[in-house]
Symmetry: C2
Subunit: 139 residues, 2 copies
């Protein structure tokens, strides 16, 4: 498995969930939103188009696995939001977020809304375990 | 070619650029941002995962074509932003936006920022023609 130099900000804001074939999946440490970040484990990626076509297809498969895992753990998900922005953190990463009509930003995007609220200890571990189990069930 | 029932809001906010194999590409009528919208021409799509795996790969190819066309017409692009949100307009559509560090929202996302500023007549047609030519050169 390729190793990866994770951007320090991504490292600080997230915790690892699972390694998929192309990407590392991490959970944003913000209990307001079930929010996964995929980071392809290849060097010097900024844009989706820096990936080969085959790796772009693998990334799309990884996105679909994240969507399924989120819907499994959060059955009240109303919409999945997917985005690759990278205006602040340049390292290529893809957001996959489960949106509920009751969440703190609905119907707006989550980026830049308010301040992240870290999970409480114990709760975060439970979420991580539930998501890992969902990935393993769906892979 | 499949026809499509375009959501009335997407219809009102955008003008057609080109038909790709899976998606219709439209330009958001907002001169603040070079902003394309891809709409897959299949019925009853809400999530990316409503597409078959093969159609998801075709969508990824369509996204890459949009990125290349935007970079061709806007060489000062600093970052491409790509997103599938759909919290307001449910019909599956993907945003591909050329971001400049001088634009009205940088480094924040463009969604929900300020008010759209329609292109002036004549300018819009020039942008449409330039983008069509870039798609034809890159396809």
């Amino acid at each position: 498995m390729m190793s990866i130099n994770l951007d320090p900000r991504l490292q600080a804001d997230t915790v690892e969930i699972i390694e998929l074939d192309l990407s590392t999946v991490r959970l944003m440490n913000d209990r307001r939103f079930p929010w996964l970040i995929l980071v392809p484990r290849l060097s010097d990626l900024v844009e989706l188009t820096d990936l080969s076509p085959g790796d772009r297809y693998r990334l799309m498969d990884n996105i679909a696995l994240c969507s399924a895992a989120l819907r499994n753990v959060y059955p009240d998900t109303h919409k999945i939001n997917t985005g690759a922005l990278g205006n602040i953190v340049r390292q290529l990463h893809v957001h996959v977020i489960a949106r509920r009509t009751t969440d703190a930003a609905w119907p707006n995007p989550v980026w830049g809304v308010g301040t992240a609220e870290p999970y409480e200890d114990g709760v975060r571990e439970a979420v991580v375990c539930d998501l890992r189990a969902a990935f393993k069930a769906g892979a």
